[in-house]
């Protein structure tokens, strides 16, 4: 069916202004508690950054509830979060270590922040040796290993692979680049590529178990380009650096721009592949009402992680790789796609399903992002007012 000829249904799942404001109250209270942690900053610049962050969080949540659009406002927040996370993280590293490069001594002293992408690689060695194959600290430091595990377990139970669109501090980068062009330059991508992340997952899990080192982090993680990387002290590390920088340029910048898809998240990330399985044990899902669907395929083209295809349409649900970003839902003119709770009738109240999903998902995003947005903004304010992002 020609997409341009489809008329949107008039019914838009909006909520009245009063109801929206009432629904916002818990989020306003919680985000205030999280951002202030019991006291307001005394420094005017920090206070300004905190107020702006607070308003940004709650304005986003308001728009999510009031307009009924999910991905449109989620993505603005998610991309801002990713950019300011990078600003905050890099400046933090330079302040404490003087460089983005992590030295062998830093690793020996357990000074490397733990990242969720390492988790699948740590599980087999943890089961066999009770050790974590990562140069971090178990508890008590910034992004310690146990705290990141707790975070991962919590979000897995609550959101499944929703983590990738509602929490991952890297995901916003390729999400952002995938929105630069209005139309994709590369349109036809063979769906067999969607098996690649599972192959990468198997490869890195096995090699990590054999070598007792996180091989994905050492060789493949493209995000090291914008966070931290091992100091180049040998030819091997130089090769690793060339590989991960090339992967960043290819998978996070160029291919997302050309395809309008999240290529790193959908076709490469082993954590994403691993997290896909957790969708099986999660209550939130995205369903298709085949009676309402006019088969325009807008959703298939919109899905940034290749989680919709004609084959899965037959089943009325997405693939397990769905990150619950809501882009397909926003793109559907007939409101034939919607958030749903497993076990409940498909004919149930879609507005309630959506709100029940948005609360944990947005709270997770706001909590993870709040500190980073606030800190990143503070660094930018400092740059504007003093000419430097760093505390001298």
């Amino acid at each position: 069916m020609n997409q341009d000829k489809i008329k949107p249904d008039v019914v838009v799942p909006q909520i009245s202004l009063i109801k929206t404001l009432l629904l916002m109250l818990p989020m306003m209270f919680l985000t205030f508690a999280i951002l202030t942690q019991g006291k307001l900053p005394s420094d005017p610049k920090s206070l300004f950054a905190m107020v702006i962050t607070y308003l940004f969080i709650n304005a986003t949540f308001f728009m999510l509830l009031y307009t009924g659009k999910t991905d449109k406002f989620r993505s603005i927040f998610f991309i801002t979060y990713a950019v300011l996370f990078v600003v905050s993280f890099i400046t933090h590293l330079i302040e404490i270590r003087g460089s983005m490069a992590v030295s062998q001594a830093n690793m020996l002293q357990g000074e490397t922040p733990f990242c969720h992408i390492v988790i699948p690689m740590t599980l087999i060695p943890l089961a066999f040796t009770r050790t974590i194959i990562f140069p971090g600290t178990i508890i008590g430091s910034f992004a310690s290993i146990a705290s990141m595990f707790v975070l991962w377990i919590g979000v897995t139970l609550a959101l499944g692979r929703g983590f990738c669109s509602w929490g991952c501090f890297f995901g916003g980068l390729d999400d952002g680049f995938s929105r630069i062009l209005k139309r994709p330059v590369i349109k036809n991508i063979n769906f067999n590529w969607t098996y690649l992340p599972y192959a990468v997952l198997i490869a890195v899990v096995l090699t990590a178990a054999i070598s007792l080192s996180p091989t994905y982090c050492a060789w493949l993680c493209p995000y090291k380009t914008v966070t931290e990387f091992v100091e180049v002290t040998s030819f091997k590390i130089l090769m690793q650096t060339i590989i991960f920088v090339s992967l960043f340029i290819g998978l996070v910048i160029i291919l997302p721009i050309l395809t309008r898809r999240r290529i790193q998240c959908g076709l490469f990330c082993p954590f994403g592949a691993f997290q896909s399985f957790t969708n099986k044990i999660n209550v939130f899902e995205v369903r298709i009402d085949k009676e309402k669907c006019v088969k325009c395929k807008r959703c298939i083209q919109a899905c940034p992680t290749f989680s919709l295809s004609e084959e899965v349409w037959e089943k009325g649900k997405t693939r397990i790789s769905c990150t619950k970003c809501g882009k397909c839902i926003d793109s559907c003119l007939k409101k034939a796609i919607f958030f749903h709770l497993k076990g409940t009738p498909l004919s149930g109240n879609q507005r309630i399903y959506r709100i029940l999903f948005l609360y944990p998902a947005f709270l997770f995003l706001a909590t993870l992002a709040g500190g980073n947005i606030q800190d990143g903004m503070m660094k930018i304010i400092r740059l504007i007012t003093t000419g430097s992002m760093f505390i001298h």
Partner: protein, 152 residues
Amino acid sequence: MNKLKSILGYTWAFIAFFIILATFFGNERFSKVLASATGMKVSPWYTGGEVISVIDHGTYRTLVHRPVFDALIGEKREGFIQINWEPSTGIPQVIEEKIDYDKDRKEDLLIILDTSTGKATLTAYSPSIVSIERIYRLKNGWAVRIALRKPS
């Protein structure tokens, strides 16, 4: 049955919000519980392994770690031993020390570390000693890793 499924679905969705809340507000507590319940530690390939002996020199001390050959199952043929000196304020400019890491009352190696240049020389008295793998300048001192190979 459908009604029960529906109730469970709504309940789980409702609980998801509180799981997220607990994940953040109880993170510190849950982290400690998780760490102690699993007994997880950082791999000795990064930490250097447990310290098996401490030699006190008055102004500074030498920490000898256990030899690390750990593999996923069993042991690897090649490993290392790590020796630390701390605190940095009490360490002489040149450290010269003989180490008996396997406690057989025979010295296994002699290490000379010049802390002004960060260079070290190694004399092996045991066939297991291979070479200096890496020298580290730490916040509170120095460390050296020496590559080991199990005798065949």
